[in-house]
Point group: C2
Amino acid sequence: MVLREATRIVGVVPNAAYRHFADRDELLAAVCTAAMRELGDRMAAEVAAVDGEHGDPTAAFLRLGAIGATYLKFAREEPGLFATAFALPQRHAYAPATETAGPDRTPLGQLRTVLDELVDAGTLTPERRDGMEYPIWSAVHGLAVLAGQGPLRNAPDADRQRIEELTLTFVANSLA
Amino acid sequence: MVLREATRIVGVVPNAAYRHFADRDELLAAVCTAAMRELGDRMAAEVAAVDGEHGDPTAAFLRLGAIGATYLKFAREEPGLFATAFALPQRHAYAPATETAGPDRTPLGQLRTVLDELVDAGTLTPERRDGMEYPIWSAVHGLAVLAGQGPLRNAPDADRQRIEELTLTFVANSLA
DNA sequence: CGCATCTTGTGGACGCTGTCCACATTGCTA
DNA sequence: TAGCAATGTGGACAGCGTCCACAAGATGCG
């Protein structure tokens, strides 16, 4: 349902794919990684577009909102990429933090960054911040799934938009 | 990936399935409906096991917790049923409420019931309660998906359990 | 009771998929 | 220029969902 379709789009015989990917899953994994990076890049762009110094609580909340909104927008506008991004769990596992090179541009890494910023801004105590990325991630991801492939798929756009806002303020309120 | 497998388990030739279901999707829809009812039944049982009168805020919160915990437990223990339950979005759409017969035993209906109870108990204002089922549903569903088929799939059990608790208190706190 | 009809299951076939094999073609490099 | 790695091709296989024609048992009606 994927491999032959991809090779058809590229205009090549199905077996040609096996010169580049071991099997269907490895192809999917490549798309998965690319999709995740794309989401991370869009997020970083939206976050960077928010003015305000590090340590400014208002700006930090705006950045948090930008992260959530970008996540939901990506799921809405690129449903295929979004679904594929989470289709292969072995990739981009929930590594607690790679202290390697440069800032973490993964979606989860950027969420962690803004949560740390909220701690620096004094909005969040370190105790409450601890592990907070998972409930937040769950809330936004859950809505993306429910609205994209789940029971909310056929909800009118207005309803869905309202639910999106409700969820983002739900998350923001829980941090205030 | 489903139809022939099912007929094989039943010990019958694949085409026999077409005497009972129009096609693969209709078979899936039947499982989907059954899975959803099963989840609703387990939820109702756990909710009923919570002592406390209607109007008691503490009991209402316990019931809310039972709903969330049952949801997560179901997703953990019956990953196939859980995935199938949400595979066919046209079924059990997010009908805002069917005023037909008896109490709503769907998962969403039970969540709505307990939220209404929190309003009756004075814990939640009607304004804040409005639409609140969706962020809550999203948070719990999102965690179920992330931990069941998503990036959190390979997380150690202890971590996952902690994240579950974190998410449920996250939800409860947002209503206090 | 006898027969027709409905229900359920069977066998064979089709096109689709992912996958493997052996073989051709290209282009870089020593 | 000869050799080799990379890439693509053609053919084949089993598995999938699906359709068709046919068989056998249950059911209901005269």
